[in-house]
């Protein structure tokens, strides 16, 4: 870890940031956390901000992530949606893992959505890909490959009916 400065510099490693699991849904534009510095029931939220906030901001660069300290007696997380709705999550006496799990279930994208998005991104990235969802559907459409057997029949040494014929 270069520049091992500050408390828990592991939070500043690329590996840690990439390992963030919470990817917020597309409609969420602002994510705020309210907590107090002192108070035992705020400790969980405070630790959540300390450990998970860099990961959340890294995985959601277009979401405004803000923290407010010492404003209200109870800790909470508030998300603002594009549609105007708000999501209020009470974090009183909850540990950071509880809060994280709850957020993953409520406002995080599911693993299936994330995997589908990753595949979609890969397909769009690489123009050489072919198959479902790409420009070319089959390998026969790619220049330099064998033409479609529908149009030009394969040579006999490549056709199963000649190779396995009992004569």
């Amino acid at each position: 870890m270069p520049f091992m400065k500050g408390k828990a510099p592991v939070r500043r490693t690329l590996k840690y940031l990439e390992a963030g699991k919470l990817v917020l849904k597309n409609e969420i534009k602002v994510f705020t956390v309210n907590y107090n510095v002192h108070g035992a029931h705020h400790q969980g939220t405070k630790e959540f901000v300390f450990w998970y906030l860099p990961q959340i901001q890294y995985k959601n660069p277009n979401v405004q992530v803000a923290t407010f300290k010492n404003m209200t007696p109870s800790p909470f997380i508030r998300c603002f949606y594009e549609t105007g709705k708000q999501m209020l999550i009470d974090c009183d006496n909850k540990s950071k893992e509880d809060i994280h799990e709850h957020l993953l279930k409520i406002i995080g994208k599911t693993r299936e959505t994330l995997e589908a998005e990753a595949i979609a991104r890969e397909k769009k990235d690489n123009p050489a890909n072919f198959g479902r969802g790409c420009d070319r559907h089959c390998i026969c459409e790619i220049p330099g490959q064998i033409p479609c057997p529908e149009i030009v029949p394969l040579p006999n040494h490549m056709r199963g009916k000649f190779i396995y014929a009992k004569d």
């Binding site: 500043r12 602002v30 901001q57 803000a66 407010f68 404003m71 105007g84």
Partner: protein, 160 residues
């Protein structure tokens, strides 16, 4: 990692800062920017002008602003949607009660009653709305500066 411009975001949460424009209020948007060498997030402030014809927002209020479908002027790109936390009068969203920096107002009242309340104590219920001392003792609605020269015809009411 460079942040996209705040003026292009659909929804933002900002703190109201003093503004001289008539129909608009200026907002400070606190966002985090990643320093690629240290891999650390640092606060970066952007200023956005939002359309607010009635001047509902006072300095220090936390306000939700949304992007206008079309820019009103070169600088006014957003409009005020909702005041989330007005300064001095914050309502706890979970309980719905009024709070004062980490304590409930009714809790403070009860404690004061037990200890004995002074007649000159500040009463939240009877206090007038924020802004009744503007231009007399409250100068948060403008940017003040330290007086550097006495001008002949200029009274300089906002020079400290």
């Amino acid at each position: 990692m460079a942040l996209p411009a705040a003026s292009r975001s659909l929804l933002l949460l900002g703190e109201c800062v003093p503004c001289v424009k008539h129909n608009a209020s200026k907002f400070k948007i606190k966002r985090l920017e990643l320093d690629t060498n240290l891999l650390m997030y640092f606060r970066k402030d952007d200023f956005v002008y939002a359309h607010d014809p009635e001047k509902k927002c006072k300095t220090g209020d936390i306000v939700l602003i949304e992007q206008l479908p079309q820019k009103m002027t070169r600088l006014i790109t957003h409009q005020v949607k909702d005041i989330i936390y007005p300064l001095g009068d914050i309502t706890d969203p979970i309980t719905g009660k009024k709070v004062v920096a980490g304590k409930f107002r009714d809790h403070i009242e009860e404690v004061n009653q037990v200890y004995g309340k002074l007649p000159t104590a500040f009463d939240y219920g009877k206090a007038p709305e924020r802004g009744w001392l503007e231009d007399k003792k409250d100068f948060t609605h403008v940017e003040t500066y330290i007086k550097y020269h006495k001008f002949k015809n200029d009274d300089q009411p906002y020079a400290v």
